[in-house]
């Protein structure tokens, strides 16, 4: 099956007063129709900037963008703003992190949904309103008709995120980008929202990129996972493979820092030491080396390429350790 979205060597940097921020440093991945790619990384790893750039939302005088993002045979990075407007919200839609700040506080839910529908479809207001009510019912809100005249502040966090999902799915997009869709929600609501997203995805057959810092989230919904660090993908594999056989010391660190019920409590958690690197002056060589427990003399000097973990494998990793060394338990 051919990919719906192919990202090739995407680079994004911003000029700021403090220097050039290299937010994304050559990222490549594919998303197939109906599949879910999880992009995992700490804040500042470039995961959000990368997808916003694909949507054409980072274009500005102080931004440099290079590479390709082929969607349906067309390069989104070189498309005109007008072409991008036709694609945004129609072919590719987004769900954002904080549903309170992502909905306009002065407009009713109905007005915001109707607007999303009518940008891309020539339908009457009444028809768009009917469709909006259907969408709200679809995302599990009762009394959808009445809810249309409510304002965002009258809803709970979970309900607001359901509205955001309804708005994103309004025009049946082929690709849905969910940027930390559950981070701002209560833990119990998080599970419901993830379930809802997975359900709707199965129904509509839309492809999805889910961005998160939470490996638990991607474990539930992603088919393929890419782990990002300092603007680069450091490991990429199918979800099952990545959890069963993590290769990169950073991925292992992420897994070790998740609390687990099946582990002895006295063993404690293993947080990754140090802080995320500066994107203005990133560490030389492998950007993770200052925090890596397995770093050796080559790490500060050489930039590891993203290569198959073993010959012929689809599991990719960017680490200078040999496959044998990587599999040794720390």
């Amino acid at each position: 099956m051919s990919a719906l979205l192919t990202v090739n060597d995407l680079k994004v940097s911003f000029n700021t007063e403090d220097g050039v921020v290299h937010a994304v440093e050559g990222v490549s991945y594919e998303v197939e129709p109906g599949k879910t790619l999880g992009i995992v990384g700490e804040s500042g790893s470039g995961k959000t900037v990368g997808t916003l750039t694909i949507m054409g939302l980072t274009r500005a005088a102080n931004t440099q963008i290079s590479g390709q993002a082929i969607f349906d045979g067309e390069d989104l990075l070189s498309a005109s703003e007008q072409q991008m407007r036709a694609i945004r919200g129609d072919e590719i839609a987004m769900i954002f992190q904080d549903p309170l700040s992502s909905l306009h506080p002065f407009f009713t839910i109905g007005a915001q949904l109707v607007e999303a529908i009518r940008v891309h479809n020539k339908v009457s207001k009444a028809a768009a309103r009917t469709r909006s009510a259907e969408l709200l019912t679809m995302v599990g809100l009762s009394d959808a008709r009445d809810r249309l005249s409510s304002y965002p502040h009258e809803f709970s966090g979970g309900m607001r995120q359901r509205v955001m999902i309804a708005m994103a799915l309004a025009n049946e997009p082929r690709l849905l980008i969910a940027d930390e869709p559950t981070t701002a929600l209560d833990v119990t609501v998080q599970a419901q929202i993830l379930e809802l997203i997975a359900e709707l995805q199965a129904e509509t057959g839309t492809a999805m990129i889910i961005i998160t810092h939470d490996l638990g989230v991607v474990a539930e919904v992603a088919d393929e996972i890419a782990v990002m660090y300092a603007g680069r993908i450091v490991e990429q594999a199918s979800a099952a493979e990545l959890f069963a056989n993590p290769q990169h010391p950073y991925t292992r660190g992420l897994l070790a820092s998740i609390p687990r019920l099946d582990r002895d409590r006295s063993s404690g958690l293993d947080p990754i030491a140090g802080r995320p690197p500066s994107l203005i002056a990133p560490p030389s060589g492998c950007a993770f080396h200052p925090r890596c427990p397995r770093a050796f003399d080559r790490c500060p000097a050489e930039l590891p390429p993203l290569e198959p973990a073993a010959a012929g494998s689809e599991h990719l990793v960017a680490c200078l350790l040999s496959p044998e060394e990587r599999s040794v338990k720390q």
Partner: protein, 320 residues
């Protein structure tokens, strides 16, 4: 909402009472010229001054005078008579009000259009030359005193003393009811001069608000929907950024309706501002009282309207 408005109206009554009382007390506590002596003319004899004093009721204790003033005001809507020429204060105020309203309304229209326009242009092109130039100019506009601007404008454009005599100068005000065209041309300069600092302030305020709003998450959502940039800025951005402007506009207009003293004086426009200025110079208490009460009335009502209007602008605001 109704209960809220009623409660606020009670406050308005109380505030106006307090304002009238304080004005009265200040007038009697602070040193000022003797109104009776001023009225008596160039060569007053003590008997004449005493008779005028008695005639104006100035020989009674201040609280008796205040009580009589308030009684007439409340029961007959009577503001008393000018100490200076015996004309009823109500008549003085109502004859001056149209000029002040003309000046304030025209200037307000001008500064809203210019201030909002410049603010939007600067906000959508942040850090460009256009942005920096307009904001720099705005800073000059805010800093320039209105009387100085007025004199410069007269010196440049007025038909009598101007370098480029294209507009009627000071003392040319004609009521709208007499000659609409002359009314309009005579007010062009005062409108512009009065509007400068407001337009400058509003444009800077709107630029700040709008730049901030355009970085909000919900603006990113609007863009992600595929809306045109025009719709993003005007419908989603401006809707939020304009709210504080509405508040300030209500208050500014309220203050100006009570008289723009400096502008009216420079251009010699017979409005409330000049009336209050001349009444202060002549220790003409009834006129001072009248203009102060009128100003206070406009300000407290502007406040009330702004607060009520806010509930319609921002659905999150609800008054109990």
């Amino acid at each position: 909402m109704i209960r809220y408005i009623l409660r606020r109206l009670l406050w308005v009554v109380f505030l106006l009472f307090a304002v009238s009382f304080i004005t009265f007390v200040i007038f009697y506590l602070l040193p000022s010229a003797d109104p009776a002596a001023l009225r008596a003319g160039r060569q007053p004899n003590p008997a004449l001054v005493a008779s005028i004093r008695h005639q104006l009721g100035l020989d009674q204790p201040w609280y008796v005078q205040y009580g009589r003033y308030m009684k007439n005001l409340i029961f007959h809507f009577d503001f008393g008579f000018s100490y200076q020429n015996g004309v009823p204060v109500r008549q003085l105020i109502f004859s001056r009000l149209p000029a002040s309203i003309s000046l304030a309304a025209g200037a307000a229209f001008l500064w809203l259009v210019v201030g909002i326009g410049v603010g939007i242009i600067a906000a959508v092109r942040p850090r460009t030359k256009l942005d920096r130039a307009s904001m720099g100019l705005a800073l000059v506009g805010i800093s320039a005193p209105v009387y100085w601007l007025g004199l410069v404008a007269l010196y440049l454009f007025s038909s009598d003393i101007g370098l480029i005599p294209i507009l009627p100068g000071a003392n040319s005000y004609v009521p709208l009811s007499e000659d609409p065209f002359a009314w309009f041309t005579s007010l062009i300069m005062p409108w512009c001069v009065l509007a400068v600092s407001f337009a400058a302030f509003y444009s800077r305020l709107l630029r700040g608000n709008l730049t901030e709003v355009l970085n909000e998450d919900y603006i990113r959502t609007a863009r992600a929907k595929g809306l045109s940039e025009r719709r993003v800025v005007f419908r989603h951005g401006l809707r939020s950024a304009i709210t504080p402007i509405v508040t300030i506009f209500g208050l500014d207009l309220g203050i100006l309706l009570g008289g723009a003293i400096l502008t009216e004086t420079v251009f010699n426009i017979p409005g409330i501002g000049r009336l209050s200025y001349s009444s202060i110079v002549r220790s003409d208490l009834p006129v001072i009282q009248g203009t102060v009460l009128l100003g206070a009335f406009f300000i407290v009502f502007a406040n009330l309207f702004v607060d009520i209007f806010y509930a319609f602008l921002d659905p999150r605001v609800r008054y109990e």
